[in-house]
């Protein structure tokens, strides 16, 4: 193992940014700059603060999913259920906003928005908990366990609405449950709330990854679970926690999306899990676990979001968007394996 590029994985050590790390995370950064430069050249409407904020609001959805996905991938797992959990969360929130009828008592409860948010996040956490327990306690492969919850959550969402969409999530003032659209429409200091939420979650995750014991446990159990366990890391607990956190992130994304749309459809978020994985991978994380960081993942989410929105703005067919996104993903993974390939000789 002659090269020492493996020192790239000193995530968040701001005091000593190694060249390897700059290359790793710089890659996605340069791609983003290139995308912005190219589309600004092709379209006059692209390069404006307002457009960036609108695009960022779109990125927020993928970005939130990608943060949860990053945690899972750092652990060496995968969470395919996030798209479905996003959809289920939106529908669940919509269902709560329409009023919950308690037949035995003959009343209809209209929970306030804060309660809707908490209950929805709890639902996301619950799905994550089931994923985590299946994977950690019963040794179901992560791919299969979360594939199962992908179907179950989507099916549950369809059952709840009978395939229809909840509209009118605005609430009524006399019922005291207004304010749901605040998440998707309002702006604080001209910045959309969705973007602010993404920023908060990203900063919190960054802190957790670089400054807490849990973060270190996560990197070590993703890098070598046996060694981590023998070093006293509670690897089972770490594993369950990352799936719970991923579920919560998906629920947040579901709330933001349904608020942006002021409606909750049971098919929302279909295939978003793949976009989230793509963002994490473009951001330089290794699917084998242990390598990656929040900055890279955010850049990866922005690369995908700014690329597809840019293609829309210059009027390229949405079919081409799919082709471009795919090409970017493959290119990113190719670069990842070139980078990490040197460290794996044996």
């Amino acid at each position: 193992m002659a090269d020492t590029t493996a020192s790239a994985n000193a995530p968040g050590k701001k005091s000593n940014v190694s060249i390897g790390k700059m290359l790793l995370e710089g890659r996605a950064f340069f791609a983003l700059i290139a995308i912005i430069a190219i589309f600004s050249f092709l379209s006059d409407n692209y390069f404006s603060l307002n457009n960036f904020l609108i695009m960022s609001n779109h990125v927020a959805i993928f970005g939130l999913l990608a943060i949860g996905m990053l945690l899972v991938i750092l652990n060496g797992g995968i969470d395919l259920s996030v798209g479905s959990v996003l959809g289920l969360s939106g529908v669940f929130a919509g269902w709560l906003m329409q009023g919950v009828e308690l037949e035995s008592m003959g009343v209809i409860l209209y929970p306030p928005v804060w309660a809707v948010v908490i209950l929805t996040l709890t639902l996301g956490a619950f799905v994550g908990l089931i994923n985590g327990i299946l994977i950690s306690r019963f040794n179901v492969p992560a791919f299969v366990a979360t594939l199962g919850s992908l179907y179950v959550a989507r099916g549950a969402a369809l059952l709840m609405t009978n395939g229809l969409t909840y509209n009118n999530l605005g609430g009524k003032a006399e019922l005291g449950n207004t304010g749901f659209d605040w998440l998707g429409f309002n702006r604080i200091a001209n910045v959309p709330v969705g973007v602010i939420i993404l920023a908060i979650v990203a900063v919190l995750t960054g802190l957790v990854l670089t400054r807490t014991a849990f973060g270190r446990w996560l990197y070590s159990s993703g890098g070598n679970e046996r060694a981590a366990e023998l070093s006293g890391v509670p690897t089972a607990r770490v594993k369950i926690t990352v799936y719970v956190l991923s579920g919560i992130c998906a629920s947040i994304a579901g709330l933001v999306l349904s608020s942006q749309l002021t409606s909750a459809g049971p098919t929302a978020g279909t295939t978003y899990e793949l976009t989230a994985i793509a963002a994490v991978v473009i951001g330089g994380a290794a699917l084998t676990g242990g390598r990656g960081g929040i900055l890279g993942t955010m850049l990866g989410a922005f690369v995908i979001g700014f690329l597809s929105d840019g293609l829309v703005i210059i009027g390229v067919s949405s079919y081409w968007q799919t082709v471009f996104t795919g090409a970017v993903i493959v290119l990113a993974v190719l670069l990842n394996s070139i980078q990490y390939g040197g460290a794996k000789r044996r």
Binding site: T212, A213, Y219, G223, L230
Partner: protein, 516 residues
């Protein structure tokens, strides 16, 4: 060719007799120099044995000869012509075949499929399974092994699996057969079968390169001996000129001092008490640790010696909380710690340095520093967040304490040599301030200088009251810092010695020299 020509010096032989030769072969892995210039010849129809301790470079040399790895410098000469072996397939086509120490069989497939893996016999309709089966049966008959060609490999005993591996090598008509520790998993009768086969092969003109830890066993079969030490070839001679002592002398060198038991203090109270412990074997049949008792006092150093499969690893992994025991108890300072998790046991002061550094000891994706601090994150976490300053201090102290040679805490763990990696694993555990440390084969794959440093470090800690238990499969390491030597055999203690015993007594108790 008739085989036993023991009495000629290798350089006196006509050149045509040498089928394979290594000239000034070196090999480096990053900072680690596994081979430092090796020269030797392999003679047609004879057995050449490589002797050397763990980490001496035997396996690396074998991988080079069989095309798995390429030498950094130097040449391999086959039939008088320099060759470059690009791959194992390339080597196989030239008639060089290797049987690895770790079995490389597909357990989910049948014996027949394994033997013809990658070179299936084509029939009119796909693979000619009947012909494959016939040839497999013939091969196994030659080996005098009653194995069904259609049995799945995973259903065979380990010894039988080894025989299948040998059969596979024979099936490609190898001219030069490299056997890396072929007998390590075989029973005595299976070893006899193998040696008979080796004699037959020699008579057919097949040359054999043989590696074994069982020195006496290897001496009964070999025609030439090559001894390696720390990547250097220290000796090369025909069988007639050598004996066991000669080999040991050349393997170990001028009695390199691995230290002596620290003296001048009293042991404390019993730190680790293992009582009537039973651990099931990982195959599910029988017990790996069979009703065993062991007590280690504070400040005492105990060495556990035994052959592969004697149950040393299982004993330690059970005490550390990785494996569950079916009977008996593990007590730490008089408190029963059954039911505690690995993390709880580390907090209570009982730590394990695992046998396999790469697999169980290190997180390759993290830096030297983060590996060192992994077990003691709690020590530098205040409230919710870790304190980088406190962590850096712990790491720097630890690097100095266990004398890790590194570019700094941010260097990649893979950039360190084996010995320094081992010190990181030990250092990681010492940072937690343990009262009992168990080390499973702490000297595996590290050079003799690093070994001495590791033992010195442990001796110093023992003086301060640390209870130390380490295992080894090198007799010389038993007679170093240990106050007491326990020999394990089939999950039980077969003998116990004080530090003034002899190598021969220890080896006899382990069952090592009983192999015919």
């Amino acid at each position: 060719m008739q085989a036993p020509i023991h009495n000629e010096a290798p350089h006196a032989k006509p050149e045509s007799q040498v089928v394979l030769a290594a000239r000034d072969v070196t090999k480096s892995f990053g900072a680690v120099r596994a081979l430092k210039g090796v020269n030797f010849d392999v003679h047609r129809g004879q057995v050449t044995t490589l002797f050397g301790e763990n980490g001496a470079g035997k396996s690396t040399l074998m991988k080079i000869l069989s095309g798995v790895q390429k030498p950094s410098t130097g040449t391999i000469i086959l039939d008088g012509e320099p060759v470059e072996l690009d791959s194992t397939t390339d080597a196989q086509e030239r008639g060089i075949c290797i049987i690895h120490q770790e079995l490389s069989l597909a357990p989910n497939m049948t014996v027949r499929d394994n033997i013809f893996m990658g070179r299936e016999i084509r029939g009119k309709f796909g693979v000619d399974f009947a012909e494959e089966e016939r040839q497999t049966r013939k091969l196994l008959e030659e080996l005098e092994e009653d194995i069904d060609p259609l049995a799945k490999v995973e259903d065979l005993r380990l010894g039988q699996q080894q025989i299948v591996e040998i059969a596979r090598a024979l099936s490609v008509d190898a001219r030069i057969l490299i056997m890396d520790e072929p007998t390590s998993a075989l029973s005595a009768s299976e070893v006899e079968v193998l040696f008979k086969v080796i004699h037959d092969l020699k008579a057919r003109g097949v040359s054999i390169v043989y590696i074994s830890h069982h020195l006496e066993e290897a001496l009964t079969i070999t025609d030439h001996a090559v001894v390696l030490r720390d990547g250097n070839m220290t000796a090369y001679a025909p069988r007639s000129e050598i004996d066991l002592e000669w080999i040991v002398f050349n393997m170990v060198g001028e009695n390199f001092d691995l230290g002596s038991p620290p003296q001048g203090y009293e042991f404390g109270a019993p730190a680790l008490s293992i009582e009537n412990l039973c651990v099931p074997s990982h195959t599910g049949v029988g017990l790996a640790v069979d009703h065993m008792d062991l007590e280690v006092k504070a400040g005492e150093i105990v060495c556990i010696y035994g052959l592969m499969g004697a149950g040393r690893t299982e004993l330690m992994e059970c005490a550390a909380g990785r494996l569950k025991n079916t009977e008996g108890s593990v007590k730490l300072h008089g408190h029963d710690i059954s039911g505690l998790s690995i993390a709880d046991r580390i907090n209570a002061g009982l730590v394990l340095v695992p046998e396999d550094r790469q697999r169980d000891g290190l997180v390759q994706t993290m830096t030297v520093g983060k590996n060192l601090s992994l077990s003691s994150i709690g020590n530098f976490t205040k409230g919710l967040f870790t304190n980088h300053k406190a962590e850096d201090q712990i790491i720097e102290e630890s690097i100095r304490d266990v004398t890790v040679k590194t570019d700094g805490p941010h260097a990649a763990i893979g950039s360190l040599s084996g010995g320094n990696q081992q010190k990181v694993v030990i250092g990681k555990m010492l940072v937690t301030d343990p009262t009992v440390i168990m080390l499973d084969e702490p000297s595996r794959g590290i050079d003799i200088g690093a070994k001495a440093e590791v033992f010195k470090l442990l001796a110093e800690r023992a003086k301060q009251g640390l209870a130390v238990v380490y295992t080894t499969s090198e007799v010389t390491e038993c007679l170093s810092i240990a106050h007491r030597i326990i020999v394990m055999r089939r999950g039980q203690i077969s003998a116990e010695f004080s530090h003034d015993t002899t190598k021969e007594a220890i080896m006899a108790a382990s069952g090592e020299s009983l192999v015919a």
